[in-house]
Symmetry: C2
Subunit: 421 residues, 2 copies
């Protein structure tokens, strides 16, 4: 009997109970969930997670980046590259309880379930909680998995200075999570991440399982437009160099272009500031950010080029000076098609509809995809809301997602090991 | 010989010297000119002005509003309604030296010049410095002339609470300028105001004298657009309720409509605020102000109606809720055509080009026009700049404007008195 034939299921009450218990740890004076990376609240959450790893009988490893790993290794599979399930347990300010934590605790749940089945997988199974995925206290986000994948050096990462002036390396040492392992010490055979969608698509379409086949590339820019401040009453329209109007033209250009594109391209201007910001003064300056995303690099580059061309014309046409600062840029990630197909098949077997989709948000999986075949499973987010106390996924949906993860891990762990030693 | 035939001229050095001297009074620690209404700095400016009135041999009257009047009255014209020239000597923060002060000091200069000519005008001549024209410390602006014209009661005005928590009536008493006269005690025969343009038109066209035939109506509104905050990466364009994009559509609508209108309509969005104002969050709220101006009430109303209709469609179309708050509304003012023609004729006689124009900014003249025939004379503002230390008008242009004012006052003072007692 293979593991997958057993159609075992995870312990729903244990998983849901842990999600709620972890969600109660790190509440501030106003009752808000705030477990910023390497903070005292983060330590409390980490301690609880490590306690559960220990109770589950997993080997615990912590690297210098503070990434936590729980590994189930049997003599029969020792030394083989593990199947790694992961996500993060740090949170934003005033967070919901699911983002990240769900994937980490479901990973633990899957390993415990398989461990209890007394069957020995062909590879070690491991769960990871990566440090500072949210990037609220320290930049960049997804830092722990980025360092694990070799995208940034450990010393550079540990030297990161937080919004509160703290240094990440010092804070990790202070809270007792500056581990001994070198980042990247664990080379996974595959990486899986189960996550809430953080978007409205699954709920809107009534589909419980998202088989995430790719992850959008992200381009963040800050644009500064300089015009001339002048009296709003005495300056004819033809003599204006209105930085605010020029900024508005960029906002509508980006929005209308993305909306009309018939592609998944999304364009957002989330921040905007006028100077001098007075009711009767034509704005001399407008500063705003542009967030462009697309699953395909060539299309993301085309969007960036279209914006640059528009800005060039705007500067010539509107009598304004425009400067652009690149804030962040991640190329799109294509996940492993064979794992995506496993997700679809597992959903079908359990009787759930599934949908191939693109991750609009960044996740640790995009970093881990540099190291190993990777994919993600999404479950619905009510109203598409996340990073908010109203973040919600129904219990049945959480359980369904964890069972799909279980099935896939079981199936992968049932495959004969070859090649990777 | 009539006064006008004499082609006398004002004392240029005296006028320019006083403008510069007054401009040096009320400098703060950083050297900025800051004579906010009823402040200690304002007292210093008032004291100097009253000193000059006294030196010129004028009768000084101060009303309960703190408006200062200098009156030259002869036995032959006593009791007749005076020809009043006025403006203000309070300033904005970090002001230039011309706005308001030029008109007041030129009024004094004209009276002194005519008084020295030993010819007795048919009416008293008076100069006024109105309290709190700028409206920086106390709201509304143009307060002193508004009260003088009966637009707001004196008790209500004196109860105004400043941005610093002070009460205007108490501050006027403290600086010694809570006078005894009832506001409106002086009923002018005509009101004249000489002022810098505060706009770019005269300089751009190379015309030294503006014959101001009307003053734009002003409509100020604050618009709040409520959409839905959502993840910038995971929310498809078709599922967005983007308050920032909706606001940008309003900005471009207003600007493009005014620019294409072939009328003097001006539309400005000077302030803008997004919430939550995060790079990767679709704005849930945008709050901005709209400043609409037009010289004709029917057209200003049409602009307001067009905006309202656009907002209604936008709310339906863009899935946003829109609320509008009226902040200020002044109807346009039509100045007295016979005085405007006098300005043109006087300019022509002195060899200056003149141009009929609209005042885009608010001035005390718009309040005084409720009481008496009124008009304004503009001189060029370099670069259209005002409310700024770079505010500048060339000496020759200042002198030219004052001589035109002289000619008009002389001509009006040469007319036989009839009707008004």
């Amino acid at each position: 009997m293979t593991l997958i034939d057993a159609m075992t299921s995870i312990d729903a009450q244990r998983l849901l109970g842990r999600i709620r218990e972890l969600g109660g740890i790190g509440r501030d004076g106003e009752g808000r969930l705030v477990r910023l990376a390497a903070s005292d609240a983060d330590r409390l959450g980490r301690d609880r997670f490590v306690g559960w790893l220990r109770e589950a009988g997993l080997e615990i490893a912590i690297d210098r980046m503070g990434n936590i790993f729980g590994v189930w290794q049997a003599p029969a599979n020792a030394g083989h590259a593990p199947i790694l399930v992961g996500s993060h347990i740090d949170t934003v300010i005033d967070a919901g309880i699911y983002d990240g934590c769900y994937g980490v605790l479901a990973g633990l749940e899957v390993i415990e379930t398989l461990k209890a089945s007394a069957l020995v997988p062909s590879r070690p199974l491991a769960v990871a909680a990566f440090t500072n995925e949210e990037g609220v206290r320290y930049s960049p986000d997804m830092m722990g998995s980025l360092v694990h994948a070799g995208g940034v050096g450990i010393d550079e990462a540990l030297a990161a200075v937080g919004t509160d002036g703290s240094v990440l390396g010092e804070e990790l040492a202070r809270i007792g999570y500056a581990g001994d392992e070198e980042p990247g010490f664990l080379k996974p055979h595959v990486y899986l991440e189960l996550h809430i969608e953080q978007g409205p698509v699954l709920e809107r379409e009534g589909v419980p399982i998202g088989a995430v086949e790719n992850l959008q590339g992200i381009s963040w820019q800050r644009i500064t437009i300089d015009g001339v401040a002048n009296h709003a009453g005495t300056t004819p329209m033809s003599m204006r160099n209105d930085a605010g109007h020029a900024a508005a033209r960029v906002v509508t250009f980006l929005h209308d272009r993305a909306k009309a594109s018939n592609t998944p391209t999304v364009a957002t201007v989330g921040t905007m500031r006028f100077e001098p910001n007075a009711i009767n003064v034509i704005p001399s300056r407008a500063v705003f950010t542009v967030d462009l995303r697309d699953p395909f690099e060539h299309r993301l580059q085309a969007e960036e080029a279209a914006l640059a061309a528009f800005l060039e014309n705007l500067a010539a046409d509107g009598g304004v000076a425009i400067s652009v600062e690149r804030l962040a840029r991640f190329e799109p990630v294509i996940f492993d098609i064979s794992i995506v197909e496993l997700i679809e098949a597992a959903a079908k077997k359990r009787g759930y509809a599934s949908k191939r989709m693109t991750s609009g948000a960044g996740h640790d999986a995009q970093m881990m995809a540099r190291l190993a075949p990777a994919a993600m499973i999404f479950v619905p987010s009510a109203g598409g809301i996340s990073h908010n106390p109203r973040e919600h996924t129904a219990d049945a949906e959480l359980v369904a997602g964890a069972n799909i993860l279980l099935d896939i891990v079981a199936q992968l762990a049932d495959q004969e090991v070859s090649g990777d030693g």
